[in-house]
Amino acid sequence: MTTVAELTIEEEIKPLKHIALRRGWHLELFTAVTFEIGLPARDGTRFWLYCDCERYPSVPPAWHWYNAESKAVDQLKDIPCGGAFFHNSGVICAPWNRLAYRSEDARGPHSDWTIGDWRSNPYTGGCRNLAAMALRIAVELKAATYKGRTG
């Protein structure tokens, strides 16, 4: 049976694919609710993310930093620092990232947010679909505040 998450991803992945095609980003779906995306950084390197959209949109996606070769997630050398969203705990700190919630991930900076309210959290702003989230990450990797890799 098709889940709500699968139906939502099927719809939301379309604009993200369009952007990826035009920008030369790598985007590959692994399952109906998981994909990898490679985004260029200011220093000419590329960062990868593994996005797990299980239970989306009831809960936000889990945006893991990722190594496309080893398939490992959340390794220091694959995590950027600087930027406005790249928390020193190694997670993207925003209500639209499941890993920002302490209840979901021990590194999550926020125990004060309710995950089910992520869309109405004022810090979410317009980042309510996958393309908006990916664009936000891509812009942070290109910003002057980007400081390279954590490890």
């Binding site: 604009p15 035009r22 920008r23 810090y123 702003g125 317009g126 002057a144 980007y146």
Partner: protein, 81 residues
Amino acid sequence: MHDELTLEIATPSGVFTGTFAKTTKVQDVIAAVVEDQHLAEGDSFDLVHDGEVLQPVERPLVSFGLCGTVILELVATGSGV
């Protein structure tokens, strides 16, 4: 036309392409794209060129040194918390 710019803007709804006069203010570009792409008017967006937010939004496109075909992103305003 030397007085116009072609903007290819990645947005949360996909990619928008349009031609604007160089003298168009950034805020007017944002408003036009939000309407065309059916984005929520209550949301706040930045127009970004190569990692740099184009602001203040009252300035015209030409004042940022843009020319020809320009690749931009329209991103939801926000910062780390």
